[in-house]
Amino acid sequence: MIHFRLETGSATPAYAQLVHQVRRAVLRGVLAPGDRLPAAREVVAALAINPNTVLKAYSQLEREGFAYSRAGLGTFIAETAPAPIAPRTLHDLRPALRAWVTRARDAGLSEEAVSALFESALDEGYREGVA
């Protein structure tokens, strides 16, 4: 079962944080199709957040095809959820990334600078050229 965390003061709204956490869990393979997400009331009790936030997050997940709900039973991860990152892809991409990080470190960049650089590249990469 997924354990939610909430970061207050962040630029990301609360419901979006919950959505991210579910997506990430699915992509990492922690949650598989058919797994039940915690009931809204449980999340509310654990995090002391607005029940609408949980409902909003779960609705969005449903819209995106990550989850579906059954009245009285709960919300479950859908079959249509994206598969976890294929180990093959991980296997291919990860070493290149590690190598790049090493290069950046050797060039004298701090961890923070590397992170900023990566984020800006990420931003550019996904913003432009979305074919």
């Binding site: 630029a11 009331r41 002391a48 957040i49 607005n50 609408n52």
Partner: protein, 300 residues
Amino acid sequence: MRPAIETTALGKRYRRNWALRDCCVQIPGERITALIGPNGAGKTTLLNLAIGLLTPDAGGIETLGWSPQRQPELVLGRVGYVPQDRPLYSRFTVADTLHMGRSTNPRWDDRGARERMHKRGIALDLPIRRLSGGQRAQVSLALALGKHPDLLLLDEPASSLDPLARRDFLAELVDAVAADGTTVVLSSHVIADVERVCDYLVILADGRVQLAGDIDTIREEHKVIIGPRFERDVASADATVISAEHSERESALLVRRDDPAAPPGWRIETPSLEELVLAYLSNPRAGALPAPQLAESAAS
């Protein structure tokens, strides 16, 4: 859907000063609304008017569609209130306090109230004056929730509570909302709590409504645009600029705008709720006017 609280040009005066003036707001039902504003902005006054502890000097207010002045039994039967400083009869025991709730409210869930106390580890035979601040807050909340209100009003409910007590209080509050769908309006100074728990926001400044709306929507509508420093006083020229801050090299404007594109050389960031609220509070003249298109970029 009928608003939980609706005011029409509402005004309230204390001697010479108007605590609320020409206040028009519709607070929606089935949400948890935050009332934010500096001290003296009229938050307590608004809540007291909504429950009928005060009567308006100008304009009108309706709570759940009823007039708190002319139909007090209806309002008081359906609205729970936790006043500022959470008063209780200090010589009563917890059981006495709940008994008072039972004997003065038409609808009362005694078992639910006792379970709440049990869940929080508060013994019923303890006198109120021996309870800690957090426990007293729980008792006040249980008293207000005991009548299963349709609307719950809280005036700075977490003030002077330690972090754990505050957390427990909010947890109890949202649990009740999750169970019953109670509409909540709470005034608060703690933006972190507001962010956690509230989904609708009303900012009061100087007795008037400065901003009101769904929190997620408000956050999407506001951006901080940061660019090289410029001299022109933009804040007063452009209605959608809420605040402007200048440092040696840069200027940062918090704006309310529709189109997200930034002029070249500028970047856009999303403000945190706290930044947003602070920007409004420090610029009382910035009002919740409908957002016109941003004039040509301020860099020109």
